[in-house]
């Protein structure tokens, strides 16, 4: 099939007891192996074993620069300190490190400090990833959504610090799209560049694809991966341009942004085959921007966590 890279993600991949075997097997297959971790549950001896079997790269999530704010966001006391110790171990072992921070209302003012922290930890790359509102971020959107002004300032700030850090650390940006005029090229196109295998073996075109009702996913337990990639109904559903409605169908950007994000169309418009409402040509664009503006001024500051009972004051948006 020509797959070149594998990202071991989650949840938390360190909770897999067979993580070392998975990495070893991926490397034997020639894959570039990237571990995306919170560092919680991954001790130094296991990290060293991962390196021995050929792990190529570690991506560590940090929530903020100060421990109190970061631990509040993570919902885990002491997490930040453990992550910093882990980052130092990764670099000392000679492994490549990326620091990833998901940006939202509570930490959007810390971007410059986060980049400096990543550089001083010895990371070669930092990912400033504005929250994408699917899954748990969608449930917490009222507490996470930044204002339009905050997003504008944050984008300017990244442009400025990029040149300051050139050659020292690579800064990759995942752009916010709630205030955008055109949609992101989600996944580089549906069923075009990447696939996602869940722990149960189901193969998804993206990690949030299960939020779209009616899609049929095939499993690696039943069929070869190459057949799933080429023929499964879920991959064929939005591949290419044939599924597109207007204004996408005749848009000159259709091969570039691929009509944006199907899961976002589902979450906001209620129709996965609609034009991504992040696009100003979508009839639902104004509604999405209004929604973002309203939620950015919502007083909520508490979060709803995966697998935990909400704290007082947390306002969960029911799953659609």
């Amino acid at each position: 099939m020509g797959v070149l890279q594998i990202h071991l993600s989650g949840g938390e991949p360190a909770s897999r007891r067979d993580l070392v075997e998975i990495v070893a097997s991926a490397r034997e297959a020639g894959l570039y192996t990237n571990l995306i971790t919170s560092a919680i549950g991954l001790d130094l001896p296991r990290l060293a074993r991962l390196m021995q079997v050929g792990l190529d790269h570690v991506q560590l999530s940090l929530q903020d620069v100060q421990a109190d704010g970061a631990d509040h966001i993570a919902g885990y006391s002491g997490a930040h300190e453990r992550k910093l110790v882990f980052a130092k171990s990764v670099v000392e072992l000679g492994l490549a490190l990326t620091v990833n921070t998901v940006i939202h209302r509570a930490n959007i003012g810390s971007i410059a400090a986060l980049v400096e922290m990543a550089a001083s930890l010895g990371a070669g790359r930092v990912e400033i990833a504005h929250a994408q509102y699917y899954g748990w971020a969608l449930r917490n959107r009222q507490a996470l959504m930044p204002t339009r002004d905050q997003v504008g300032r944050a984008m300017q700030e990244v442009a400025q610090i990029r040149s300051r850090y050139q050659g020292r650390i690579v800064i990759d940006l995942v752009v916010p799209d709630y205030y955008a005029r055109r949609p992101k090229a989600c996944m580089g196109g549906w069923g075009h560049r990447s696939l996602n295998v869940t722990p149960s073996g189901r193969v998804l075109p993206c990690h949030a694809a299960e939020t779209i009702p009616g899609l049929r996913f095939w499993s690696v337990r039943d069929r070869p991966l190459a057949e799933i990639w080429s023929d499964s109904p879920a991959f064929q559903a939005f591949r290419g341009t044939g599924w597109m409605p207007e204004p996408c169908r005749s848009c000159e950007m259709r091969e570039i942004d691929h009509g944006g994000c199907r899961c976002q169309a589902m979450a906001i418009v209620g129709d996965a085959a609609a034009t991504d409402p992040a696009c100003e040509l979508s009839p639902h664009h104004d509604w999405m921007q209004l929604l973002a503006g309203q939620e950015s001024s919502h007083p909520a500051t508490a979060y709803v966590y995966r697998g935990r009972i909400p704290r007082d004051g947390a306002t969960a948006i029911p799953a659609r």
Binding site: L4, G124, Q166
Partner: protein
């Protein structure tokens, strides 16, 4: 303080941690793999990259490429320096 825009090349360049050259049999081509990066390389580029192993100086890499290709040494030296500088800017060299 040196200008961050003009990276200083390592004396004996090698690929940075987390960056490796891989021959992909499906594409029948050398690809440079890094975090969230895939760079397809061809001909001279892969010949340069394969020599970035920390044992050769930039001058030795240029000499070996000169023996391999018909272009004159000065031209090859310029190409090698440009490519290494670009990789250094992307933090793909150590």
């Amino acid at each position: 303080m040196p200008d961050a825009r003009a990276p200083v090349l390592p004396e004996r360049p090698r690929l940075a941690p987390g960056v490796r050259l891989h021959f992909d049999t499906t594409r029948n081509a050398w690809v440079l793999l890094g975090p969230e990066r895939v760079i397809e390389t061809e001909g001279p580029a892969s010949e340069i990259l394969r020599r970035c192993d920390g044992s050769r100086t930039v001058g030795q890499i240029v000499d070996e490429l000169t023996a391999l290709y018909t272009a004159d040494r000065a031209e090859i030296e310029g190409d090698v320096n440009d490519m290494l500088a670009e990789l250094a800017t992307k933090r793909m060299l150590a």
